[in-house]
Subunit: 335 residues, 4 copies
């Protein structure tokens, strides 16, 4: 079968199509014919060798995909041939609290990911895809969507009437926008582009904030809530944005710390204390969260925001497109 | 001022318009000119002398109303003249857990209620009305709506993708339907009337179940969820319905016990245990819940389902109309 | 190997020692040499054919035991030869919420239990035993102790200063007493025997209530808390006791519904509603709960209350002893 | 009556005894004859003018005290003459979530505190003192003890078998140690002094860590838990210590952010995200928390750790003693 590998060195150009023997499912395992994949920013870091100094090559990248069960090993009861499923980002985190045994690096990080024609998974490590979703849409769910659900619904307990602030228009932020709306919340969104802000308003954000024209956007968000502050911030920027997030958030509000796109550096801890704020780190999520999310996606026939779908032969182009930062929503690959 | 009193004996016919001196707000108090009221089934029980053997006459009935602040006492800071507010059903339950000091009988039960032209309240015991609601709509909130919010949102943590079963078409059930929809849940509704089921579908229920044609409606509801069972039941019937509710509910599901319209009597406890179910008694709610609910109502411009609005002189007619059971939604009174 | 079977018919006398081939662990499985077992009331019902009309024979009874890992199959990483472990009562409920796939009948109910010299389990379906516990003590944990932990700690969130009421002196109640004390709570205990009440006081209960001399023990418990009511009731009696439990419990208190020893029948639902009480069904628990419990047991060097230890040849005597109701604490079997 | 005031300028030497008229309780208010006070580090900052640039003089400092009710105004029902009570640190935060109206500056911050012979409070803004506590012990509770309870019990849900790390030997840390022990947790404590570590071990800490000899104390704490990490960190140091705290804490663990004694500055956010950690800001707490805490203190006859009691004439000496940092536990003042 065909598989993409980083062979001897990192870098988009070093990601090569190779041949590997088709895997076979052992007892309790299933064989998945992959039909689509989606890219996360983490995949770009992995490919470029910037994710984790300990990664060893060769490595098959990518955590997110969707496929069809084409064979099952002995004792498989949870899925059957023909089922459409997604693998879990963290294959052993099924439910409850994460444990050391489940923890990172996860799929496509410390071990081979899913960018291959066929993959074998434990039957426990996959989730059924909502029926209305085409493969490429389903492929967007395992990392970005589950992270947004975990942040807002599982930990954040967002509810009707809440106000949620999402930053930028990356995959997690757009899913957070969609889930917040499903749950009856108002959404404020930030971006540096008025064009992108127009699009988030189409997706249901009540207000867009251009953080270039409003560098003190935290205060502006606060004003937009009548001075009370937002209930939840989906923080993907890290040290460069959390200061404004802590201005935006209300007393006893919730900041989900998901990404550090704007890098490390210092920030003032005092507002966390004086505003009784919760800052909750979010590392993707469990199968239980994924399944609860899929129930909501199925009920509301939610469609993920897919920016562009590349062919299986265009993975390098897809990664370079992500690198360019032009996209709005998920970048997918389809076979 | 004019006030309705049960004077010497109970009964709808004994509810009389009387004159009392207009009250004046003391320190920390406010004077409310009442503009509208709504009826709850409890009010009918109170008026007919069936609510509580300890009630003493004379008594001004009714817990639910809305009015305008026309004067404030010394030290009032939370509200100002001109504000439109509703009194709390349980005037001292402001936030957190209910305590003995806050507990029933509550407004219009063990002491005078709100069916008067003017009422005095502590400034802490009222809640601002969402701006888009006319007085009669606002008057429906204090008991039925807060109860539904408490059940589904505060305790039930209903979330997107959940399935909620509501029983009948009384005030609590219709608010529960509306709030469940706001929060992204699917709603199944029961009724003995196909005409009423058609109306709950218009309000957003995905399915209606006629419990007369389907006495085993619990199993039917379970089937409608693909055999998994519903996540929440808003139980208003009591012993006559809880058996079916426990058939309908999923493992680890939630039954909010709110009413006992179908009376007392026996039921089988075993499913609560074997299905790991939570049965949560709900007694109206706190100001904190009321305010969170109003945020959701304001954001989504929710309009309560009002069946009919009577004039201030028609209170007895309004009670008799409630007694007839023909209504769908709240019965209001307006001055 | 030797194994106890109900062969052709139910009844203590029909429980026979038989020979079966020693099982071998497949991939992901472990072989356990059983060292001790403990009895639950459910086992007595199973043996006597009173548990579930659907049980088919032959059946190996018992859910609770402890043993030593003597062999492991391919791919086993969670445990190793020499480890002392207990099997889970519900073998696939690892963490999070229980699902249909995990649900009863469970070990020793709808399929063979553990009363054999050797048993094979999935590596995921066992829990390491705290080092200080002898085998017979460890064998008491899977059902009764996990149930008590689930009720009081996981769902009940018992905390320092709370008051917990436990009923009788069965296994769940004594574990509940011990865990409530660990968590800093006060414990009131009921029994029909003053001698047993003396013993629960030795175990840390502040007060004992003889429910024969005080049939209105709910009111007495309430008085013992200065009229406020107890925070948690560990309800094992069912319809015969829940009425008094609902008198004992405080506003917004918690009743864990665990058993129905006193049978079915009617009870008044109104207090659940008027006191805003939570009645939470508890069906044993997950591996996550079991492991959290073991941390507490290990930290505090808790010793389960073991009444008597029978030999492997005396299983019928052990069951008859349980039937007699003379015991205080767990009845164990040791090989 | 006598009262301590900062009159024209800040500084310990400018804290002067003055005369003010004895206050009288209005409707709903109570008059408290103060019997004891305790110092918090915040009081030192207030007195030295380092707390908040907006403070205006004259100001009566101190938030914490205990006294006896000597008179009550009209309509007072919650307390009566003769009751021993403590005022709330945040006088209007009674229960539930904190709101803007309840928020800081709080007692002795933006307005007059309690360092006076008599004080008037709203009847809702005081809490009954556990009967076994002398006045000076009771005076230690409103800020430090409630903060520790809020952090560990209300938000942290510490439970039996958990491991809690406390930093240093200030008031909050010692209360956290005591409450963690009540709740059945293991406690690790840090200090720069071996003598102080010996004392925290006497108070129930299982282990002491000298952070001077072990600058990488986070890793050491992690080792002490068998590599798993601690469940809760009571973080009082801020930016200077949170890096080690995030090394010490387990996956999905809880860091209560309470103080910033070691100042501002930068720290690495990544572990919050990658370890799925919750950082929860804690700003003292509500009356509901205070009352729950007092139940636990009363049940277990807890005695706060009081280092030294000064006379009412020795307030400046008491503040200088706090400044010296020699104390272990609370510094009190008694009249």
């Amino acid at each position: 079968m065909k598989v993409y590998e980083l062979q001897n060195s990192f870098g988009i150009d070093n990601l090569k199509l190779a041949e590997r023997p088709e895997p076979r499912p052992g007892p309790g395992q299933i064989l998945l014919k992959m039909r689509a994949w989606s890219l996360n920013y983490r995949d770009l870091l992995v490919v470029k060798g910037q994710y984790n100094a300990k990664l060893r090559l060769p490595l098959v990248p990518l955590s997110d995909g969707a496929g069809e069960v084409v064979a099952v090993g002995a004792g498989v009861t949870r899925v059957k041939v023909g089922d459409r499923v997604c693998p879990l980002f963290m294959p052993t985190w099924l439910a409850g609290q994460v444990t050391e045994a489940d923890a990172p690096p996860a799929l496509g990080g410390g071990y081979d990911g899913v960018l291959a024609e066929f993959c074998v998974f434990n039957q426990d490590s996959v989730v059924a895809v909502p029926a209305h979703l085409p493969h490429e849409d389903a492929a967007t769910l395992p990392c970005a969507a589950v992270t947004a659900w975990h942040a807002l619904v599982t930990e954040g307990r967002v509810t009707a009437g809440d106000t949620v602030l999402v930053q930028g228009t990356g995959g997690v932020s757009l899913f957070a926008l969609q889930f917040a709306r499903l749950a009856g919340a108002r959404v404020l969104a930030t971006s540096s582009s008025d064009a992108k802000l127009a699009r988030v308003r189409q997706l249901g954000a009540s207000d867009g904030i251009n953080y270039k024209s409003h560098p003190e956007w935290g205060d502006l968000a606060r004003e937009m809530t009548g001075g009370r502050g937002v209930d939840h911030v989906v923080e993907v920027g890290g040290a460069g944005t959390i200061g404004q997030s802590l201005r935006a958030v209300r007393l006893n509000g919730h900041v989900s710390l998901i990404g550090i796109l704007s890098g490390g550096g210092s920030f003032n801890l005092v507002p966390i204390l004086m505003k009784n704020v919760r800052v909750q780190g979010i590392f993707v999520g469990s199968r239980e969260m994924f399944e609860a999310m899929n129930q909501a996606i199925a009920l509301h026939q939610v469609r993920p925001v897919v920016d562009r779908v590349f062919g299986f032969g265009e993975v390098r182009e897809a990664l370079r497109y992500m690198e360019s930062g032009q996209h709005f929503g998920k970048i997918c690959i389809k076979i």
